[in-house]
């Protein structure tokens, strides 16, 4: 498995400590899923397409991050100096999201846009095709084996060496990067002119055009934002998990997509909630049931929730007034 692995909860001995540890691991991993899930949900919200290539954009982002680190290390970038470390991570968080945004917009432009008026199945199948193409690009770029991603951030427990629960600098890094990004996205979508135009387009594209909104531009913006989030997730993932591979887009993409559906596809807070639920389910599953049951557990939860709430946890209940 190259998907999210879990830090050993070896020193969490007591019942409550174990529970706390699993919860912490679940939430941290969940935030990563959430970051990827947002890209699925935003694109779906606006053009009702499940962009299966999204996970592979994420994968290529992590490959770019790895390549950048290798180049920087080759030029004597001192990762052990905290200042240089954070500067370096800042640089990765600037370049990789830009790359993924550009890639995602290009995919839309070249593959999905010509199919905008075609039956829904055409862009969907194309998305699966793009996913395979990108996966093979990854294979060509990095080979078939798992690739080591440098372990740049300390695993030192921030709660003290003897603490029952482990919360490392690495865990903190995940939270410190993902939470502000999600907060910024929420503010953007809720309060800015373009964010409102995005929601308007998602709710009624024809009416949005009649308001003077250029919906092609809004769609491109959505792909750019989703791609940028995947890029940020790719950097965090590499630094956190330390293994990347050409298949990671498929595996994590599947979980993130599930998170988006679980929360209510098209719903932004829903994607975050879904990500956290799946992160927790996986942490508890592998902790209490066994690693190999986690996937089954995640999808049982998905099915159970969809049986009772077909629109997902926070999905819009469509009821139009006449």
């Amino acid at each position: 498995m190259t998907s999210l692995s879990f830090l050993a909860a070896a020193d969490a001995s007591g019942l409550w400590e174990t529970l706390g540890q699993y919860t912490l691991i679940g939430l941290t991993n969940g935030m990563l899923f959430a970051l990827i899930a947002l890209g699925y949900t935003m694109v779906y919200g606006i053009i009702e397409l499940i962009n299966f290539a999204h996970g592979d954009v994420f994968m290529l982002g992590s490959f770019l991050a790895l390549a950048m680190i290798n180049v920087m290390t080759g030029r004597d970038w001192d990762w052990s100096d905290p200042q240089m470390l954070w500067l370096g991570i800042g640089l990765l968080l600037l370049v990789v999201p830009l790359f993924c945004a550009a890639l995602n917009v290009t995919i839309d432009r070249v593959v999905y846009k010509p199919l905008r008026r075609a039956p829904k199945l055409a862009p969907l199948v194309s998305a699966i095709g793009v996913s395979f193409v990108l996966m093979n690009v990854g294979l060509l770029w990095g080979g078939a084996a798992d690739r080591h991603f440098p372990d740049l951030i300390s695993r030192q427990n921030l709660l003290g060496d003897d603490a029952a629960i482990g919360f490392t600098a690495k865990d903190l890094m995940v939270v410190a990067i993902t939470v502000p990004i999600m907060a910024a996205l929420t503010v953007f979508v809720k309060a800015t002119r373009l964010g409102k135009a995005m929601r308007a387009t998602a709710q009624d594209p024809v009416a949005a055009q009649l308001m003077g909104i250029n919906i092609d531009r809004v769609i491109a913006l959505t792909f750019a934002l989703g791609g940028a989030l995947a890029g940020a997730a790719a950097v965090v993932y590499g630094l956190y998990i330390n293994t990347v591979s050409y298949q990671m887009g498929f595996q994590n993409g599947l979980y993130a997509f599930t998170a988006a559906v679980l929360g209510g596809i098209g719903n932004i807070p829903g994607a975050v909630l879904g990500g956290l639920v799946i992160g927790l389910a996986r942490a508890f599953g592998s902790g209490y049931v066994g690693e190999r049951w986690t996937s089954a557990l995640v999808f049982v939860i998905l099915i159970a929730i969809l049986v009772f709430r077909p629109a997902g946890l926070l999905g819009a209940r469509t009821r139009e007034k006449v």
Binding site: Q203, Q209, M211, I215, K321
Partner: protein, 237 residues
């Protein structure tokens, strides 16, 4: 001086089905023009054609003398044609205030937008009470007022108004027509599509009668109101 809007020999349809078969309509500056006709005559399609949501297969749309057919809808709005479409098309999960702000999306004059917003609330006080409420939770009448107010937020030179009376209580219709008349006195031209033909013709200066994709009659509104054929077919005497 050219007319404000001239639709010339306009043909359009959906796939193989042609719904507009050579429509010609003119609207002069400051005029209210009613387009009446029965269900399925192509009235809504005519408005969609003007606002750029329906592409012509033949014919032209001239705005102040310049061709605009084939322009994307969002650019036509920027030229001063605002469309309150059939079925209201309120953004259901945006608040009333956000819906109105979207109406002003094509504008950049923040201060004037703020004044126009206050004006919308004066014209339709119920919208002020509901400003924080999601558009989809409003009643049908409130949604129609919001649709009109939202279109007005674009400061139109020409307002395209599609079936504002559909399914509404008479009092609300009167209210909406009153607002339209008031804004018209301030210079806004209106192209009004209505099935409630009598009311529409009483409001309008001129009228067109439409039947299965063609204009069959046009005259001053008073003349149409007293025309025997119009009375028989649309005024239900």
């Amino acid at each position: 001086m050219p007319p404000l809007l001239a639709v010339e020999d306009f043909y359009a349809g959906y796939g193989p089905i042609e719904v507009l078969k050579g429509i010609s309509i003119e609207v002069q500056p400051g005029e209210i023009v009613a387009l009446i006709g029965s269900n399925g005559a192509g009235k809504t399609s005519t408005l969609m054609g003007i606002s750029g949501c329906l592409r012509p297969s033949r014919g032209r749309v001239l705005w102040q003398g310049r061709e605009i057919q084939g322009l994307p809808a969002h650019e036509i709005v920027c030229r001063g044609i605002c469309h309150a479409p059939e079925g209201r098309k309120i953004f259901p999960r945006l608040t009333v205030l956000e819906n109105l702000q979207m109406g002003a999306f094509s504008r950049r004059d923040t201060k004037q937008i703020e004044r126009d917003l206050q004006r919308s609330f004066e014209l339709f006080p119920v919208l002020a009470q509901r400003r924080g409420q999601a558009g989809g939770t409003l009643s049908g009448g409130e949604q129609q007022m919001l649709a009109v107010a939202r279109a007005l937020m674009g400061r139109p030179t020409l307002l395209l108004l599609d079936e504002p009376s559909l399914g509404l209580a008479p009092l609300i219709v009167v209210k909406i027509f009153e607002v339209v008349r008031q804004l018209n006195r301030e210079g806004m031209a209106v192209l009004l599509v209505e099935q409630a033909a009598r009311m529409a013709l009483k409001l309008a200066h001129r009228g067109y009668v439409m039947e299965i994709g063609r204009i069959t009659m046009t005259d001053r509104a008073e003349a149409l109101l007293t025309d025997k054929r119009v009375q028989d077919a649309y005024l239900g005497e």
